[in-house]
């Protein structure tokens, strides 16, 4: 049983996804229980795999007992267990949270269907993470993408359909590029196993076919990762999807894409490839990363809808992740990996908060946040913590990422990156702190006349989010602080992963 955990991780949610609509026939409410229990089991399995990896190192599981490279291998090392923990945890949190959220954001009769697709999505992202076969990654990528198109289109606003459709087009192009890249690799080496590819590929590094393969893979993944200027699908997708889905996708979807990019760039290909490439790939990616950091923050400033603002801010944060990857040194990789975790926590919290606000007020405009501090104090406390993290205040996770990325930039002599990294956090501060000001210090819309000065006796009744939303939100927010202070655990895991990737 224990031996088969890597397979069970994928098989359980996949099977449950299929039977969920049937369970929903018996009683719609049951579908929530199945989804929550299933994601919880996945999370527990991930934890047990983490224990195994920490004790024994890389796990290699042979599907149906076929020896790789012929059979499909599930390979789990420090890198994917790190990502796996993040996504299985956020999927679990999202499942708990969804109970009340979809009450109002999804039609009643679609609930079982929602959970079925949700579990498929979870299957897909976890499959992409654990598999050691590049074609298998593509298969899971398509499962993930198809289910996320459906999940986005489930949003109640009419634009949700369009947003889902746009994502479908962009996502399909990205996936096709990725597939073409795999095709070229297979043609040249005759293998699809990632570990095997890593061994066989170096002798072909100089060929044009491999350059083309890399180009296809890179551009395809950058689209999936929503790197500026390939981010177009993201803002609308996040803005019109149900809040649970915005939170889960922001916290897991792009993270997995980043994981695959890292895997392809540093396991399938290697530093040697970049060293002998005819032009400096590092610089190109670096320019994209810097552009993403700045453009994301500036576009976020312009938004009046909180969900879109968060989506654009994700564009900027993805820039940080890409920056760490392209620095190609240990601290940069640590910064990048740790930011995968940190951004999942911060953005997860923020979207969960938005979901709670939508639940209570039904609105997502930034104006609408005025005076919420009194009405929803705990939710807004979570928002404030996450916003502090986004600004990169010390003792929060955001600071840890900034620190490693800055140190890495100086180490490779690009000290001019430091002001970019740090000043963009100033822009972040601008767009988050105007909301915090609204939340805590301004009277709610329509209540301006009711309170004057600092001596107001009338206290609006606190009407915070229901516990099933508040507890997950607050837990994730607290983790922003916990991993900001006790960063050593994730950092040491990320360091081990980085060492292997950059050897």
């Amino acid at each position: 049983m224990i031996k088969h955990l890597p397979a069970l991780l994928i098989v359980i949610p996949l099977l449950v996804a299929i039977i969920t609509p049937l369970i929903g026939r018996i009683n719609r409410a049951l579908s929530w229980y199945t989804a929550t229990i299933t994601t919880f089991i996945s999370f527990v399995i991930s934890l047990s795999l983490l224990k195994t990896v920490l004790e024994q190192g890389r796990i290699s599981y042979w599907m149906s007992g076929w020896e790789p490279p012929w059979g499909i291998e599930y390979a789990i090392d420090y890198l994917n267990i790190f990502v796996l923990i993040i996504i299985s945890f956020m999927a679990f949190v999202g499942a708990i949270y969804s109970k009340k959220n979809i009450d109002i954001e999804i039609d009643e009769e679609k609930k079982p269907f929602f959970y079925s697709v949700y579990l498929l999505f979870v299957t897909g992202i976890m499959g992409m993470t654990v598999t050691g076969d590049i074609f298998n990654i593509y298969v899971f990528l398509e499962i993930t993408s198809l289910s996320s198109y459906a999940l986005i289109a489930l949003g109640k606003k009419r634009q949700a359909l369009l947003a889902g459709f746009n994502y479908l087009i962009m996502g399909s192009i990205g996936a096709t590029f990725f597939l073409l890249g795999i095709g070229y690799l297979y043609l040249m080496t005759g293998t699809l196993n990632i570990a095997d590819l890593a061994v066989r590929l170096p002798e072909f590094y100089h060929t044009k076919a491999i350059f083309t393969a890399f180009t296809f893979l890179a551009v395809g993944l950058l689209m999936k990762l929503a790197v500026f200027p390939l981010h177009f699908w993201m803002p609308n997708a996040y803005a019109f999807a149900p809040s649970t889905i915005s939170a889960v996708m922001a916290a897991t979807g792009t993270k997995v894409a980043a994981y695959v990019l890292i895997r392809v760039m540093f396991t399938v290909f290697s530093l040697e490839f970049y060293a002998q490439a005819p032009f400096n790939i590092q610089y190109i990616l670096l320019v994209l990363a810097v552009a993403a950091i700045l453009a994301g923050s500036i576009m976020a400033l312009a938004q009046t809808d909180i969900k879109k603002m968060l989506a654009y801010s994700s564009v900027g944060q993805i820039g940080y992740i890409l920056l760490g990857i392209t620095l190609m040194n240990t601290n940069g990789m640590i910064g990048s990996l740790i930011h995968l975790l940190n951004h999942a926590l911060m953005k997860g919290t923020l979207f969960l908060v938005v979901g709670a606000v939508v639940y209570r007020t039904g609105l997502t405009s930034i104006e609408n946040f005025r005076g919420l501090g009194k009405k929803m104090p705990f939710t807004m406390a979570a928002f404030t913590i996450a916003a502090l993290s986004m600004t990169g205040v010390p003792l929060t996770v955001g600071f840890v990422s900034k620190w490693y990325l800055s140190v890495a930039s100086i180490e490779i002599g690009m000290w001019w990156l430091v002001p970019i990294i740090l000043l963009s956090s100033l822009l972040t501060a601008i767009y988050f702190w105007r909301i915090i000001d609204n939340v805590w210090f301004k009277p709610a819309l329509g209540e301006e006349g009711l309170e004057h000065g600092h001596d107001n006796h009338r206290k609006p009744k606190s009407n915070d989010a229901p516990a099933s939303m508040l507890i997950p939100t607050f837990t994730v927010a607290m983790l922003c602080l916990v991993f900001g202070v006790f960063a050593y655990g994730p950092v040491s895991l990320a360091e081990k992963a980085a060492m292997i990737l950059l050897k």
Binding site: N166, I169, M170, I173, G174, F177, K208, F211, T212, T215, F216, A218, V219, L222, M223, P229, L230, F232, A277, P278, F279, I298, M299, L301, A302, L388, T391, V393, P394, L395, V400, W403, Y404, S406, V407, I410, E411, W415, V418, P419, L422, L423, S425, L426, A429, I430, W433, R434, D437, W440, F441, K442, G453, H454, D455, G484, V485, A487, Y488, V491
Partner: protein, 594 residues
């Protein structure tokens, strides 16, 4: 890990309990916190202690003579400030105040740069909450500008720290000195908090906008923490002497012209910090002692003055010189305390600043810095002018405003009483303060020479004030809300003040406009529609390059008028095209760069 419990944590953790307590219990609890912090601090012997870890870096606590002085006075200021604020019911401001004070404590006791930076940022954020707690429109704007300026300082400090850590491999926070990019960045970050011109705008912008009780806290911690960092990391840097002199001299002109009394006090705060910065710049043990001692005394008398003016503001609803006057009749106790504060800041013999400021001035004399010496004397006279005379005169005497407010509440009076007592105590028995100063220096303030020259100086300043008042040359109390260049055009006041003041005021007005209005204004405009804004920018450049026909100009006008319009959404086809373009660019690079 050791079992050492940092005093900063007493405040910060202690603050979290405040919202759960009510009434008397809450008051008692808040008063006990500083006492606990003091006992905790006394319980830790001098030395360095590792108290935690973040990433792979140790966080450490350092207790030595230099940090202890600041620690003591910070705890004292918290105690006084809390008494003064006991009547405030809302927990929010109290929490912010304790976190703020705790951050100050944490910063001065930090043994490494990371700990310092942690508390540095916490200081900024908690100060922001204190300012915002006033809940006025002006406070919100000022708070936001405060945040931006200080985050900018924080960015500079952090860049410097990271550079330094990578260069030296250690996070140790000790003497840094000016050499290399990292030290300049650190100094720039610290300079923002010290309020060295032209980075001082935030101080006079935000402190007068905070609540009556909030300003008392604000006046004590941010600048003094920064002074501590200067004393620790940059003693003896000559550039600090110049910076300090500018700080000591230039606010005098503004303080004289300003009508809002809390703004006058903010200027005088910069002026007093200027003395400290000069002392650190001189760098000899006596000067460092002077700077530290003056910081100690300044926290007391400056909060006393802010409390006095604050009490008046609390009772009358205004702190404008034009609207006050004659209050001595109904607020006599507040008047007495304010007068004690005024006497202390003016360095009257037997009051605190006499024992502390003179150390700095004497040190400059010892070092043979004649110009510095005389400029400091001039600044000292100026202090007497605006803080020593103007504040009490316009508030309690001058023309009778007819206002008869009640005496300040008891808790305010107690707080002022304590600060007043200590200010006199230090003046009468300075050895008590001298004995805890970082350097062992034998200094006697009360020599006949000192006393007489100081009295002469004060007498001179007073006669100047009397003369100007009598001949009506003294700038009259005017309702200028914000001092700006236009003040001089409108009221091109009599010679002396404006002759020296105009250039200063012009530079100041330009800088403050740029930092506080133009830049944020531009950002706000830009952010409404970045694409549109960039397009307008591009068109303007094109127009100026091509010389531009009428048609083009008309188009630009139209574009500007339509701004911000609706945000453009990118269509899928554009997105796909861009993706393909990037892909193609990649391929072309690969194939043709071989």
């Amino acid at each position: 890990m050791t079992s050492i419990f940092p005093p900063a944590i007493v405040f910060i953790m202690g603050a979290l309990l405040i919202p759960f307590l009510k009434g008397r219990l809450k008051s008692v609890y808040m008063l006990i916190l500083p006492v606990v912090a003091f006992l905790v601090l006394r319980g830790i012997p001098e030395g360095n202690y590792v108290i935690g870890q973040i990433m792979d870096k140790d966080l450490s606590l350092r207790i030595d003579r230099l940090s202890l002085v600041f620690g003591y006075v910070f705890i004292l200021a918290t105690f006084i400030g809390i008494i003064y604020a006991l009547h405030v019911k809302e927990s929010g401001e109290h929490i912010a105040a304790f976190v703020y004070a705790g951050s100050g404590l944490g910063a001065v006791f930090s043994g490494d740069l990371i700990t310092l930076f942690i508390f540095w940022e916490l200081l900024t954020i908690s100060a922001l909450f204190i300012i915002w707690s006033n809940r006025t429109k002006a406070a919100q704007g000022a708070g936001f500008r405060y945040l931006l300026v200080h985050l900018f300082g924080g960015v500079s400090l952090l860049s410097g720290i990271i550079l330094r850590v990578v260069e030296t491999g250690s996070t140790d926070f000790g003497y840094i000195g000016l050499s290399g990019l990292s030290s300049y960045l650190i100094l720039l970050g610290v300079a923002v908090n010290v309020g060295i011109p032209p980075l001082h705008g935030w101080l006079v912008d935000s402190y007068p906008e905070a609540s009556v009780t909030g300003t008392v806290f604000l006046s004590a911690f941010t600048t003094k923490t920064a002074v501590y960092v200067l004393a620790r990391a940059f003693p003896g840097e000559e550039i600090l002497i110049i910076a300090g002199l500018v700080m000591a001299v230039f606010p005098i002109f503004f303080a004289v012209l300003e009508n809002d009394l809390r703004r006058v006090l903010s200027y005088s705060l910069i002026n007093q910090v200027g003395f400290m910065v000069v002392g650190i710049g001189i760098g000899i043990p006596l000067a460092i002692n002077g700077a530290v001692a003056h910081a100690f005394a300044d926290i007391l008398f400056k909060s006393l003055l802010f409390m006095g003016v604050g009490a008046v503001l609390y009772r009358t609803g205004t702190a404008k010189g034009t609207d006050l006057g004659g209050l001595y009749k109904s607020m006599p106790i507040t008047m007495i305390f304010t007068l004690i504060g005024a006497a202390s800041i003016s360095a009257l013999p037997l009051f605190s600043a006499f024992a502390t400021k003179s150390m700095i001035i004497t040190a400059s004399g010892h070092e043979g810095m004649t110009i510095v010496y005389f400029l400091l004397l001039f600044a000292a006279a100026g202090v007497f002018h605006h803080a020593g005379i103007k504040i009490p005169f316009f508030t309690f005497f001058a023309h009778d405003s007819g206002k008869r407010p009640k005496e300040a509440p008891l808790n305010m009076l107690v707080a002022m009483g304590i600060a007043a007592f200590l200010s006199i105590f230090i003046g009468v028995y300075p050895q008590a303060l001298y004995s805890i100063l970082p350097n062992m220096v034998d200094y006697v303030p009360y020599t006949a020479d000192h006393v007489i020259s100081q009295l002469l100086l004060l007498f001179g300043a007073f006669s100047a004030f009397a003369f100007l008042m009598y001949t009506r040359i003294y700038p009259p109390e005017k309702r200028s809300i914000n001092l700006d260049t236009d003040w001089f055009y409108r009221k091109a006041g009599p010679a002396v003040v404006s002759l020296i003041g105009v250039p200063f005021a012009r530079i100041y007005a330009f800088l403050s406009r740029t930092v506080l209005e133009t830049l944020p204004g531009f950002l706000a405009w830009f952010s409404r529609n970045p694409y549109g804004a960039m397009k307008i920018g591009a068109d303007i450049i094109l127009l100026s390059l091509s010389g531009g026909g009428k048609e083009a100009q008309k188009n630009l006008q139209k574009e500007k008028a339509a701004y911000p319009g609706t945000l453009k959404e990118w269509s899928v086809s554009t997105a796909v095209t861009i993706a393909l373009l990037i892909f193609a660019a990649y391929l072309i690079l690969f194939f043709f760069s071989q």
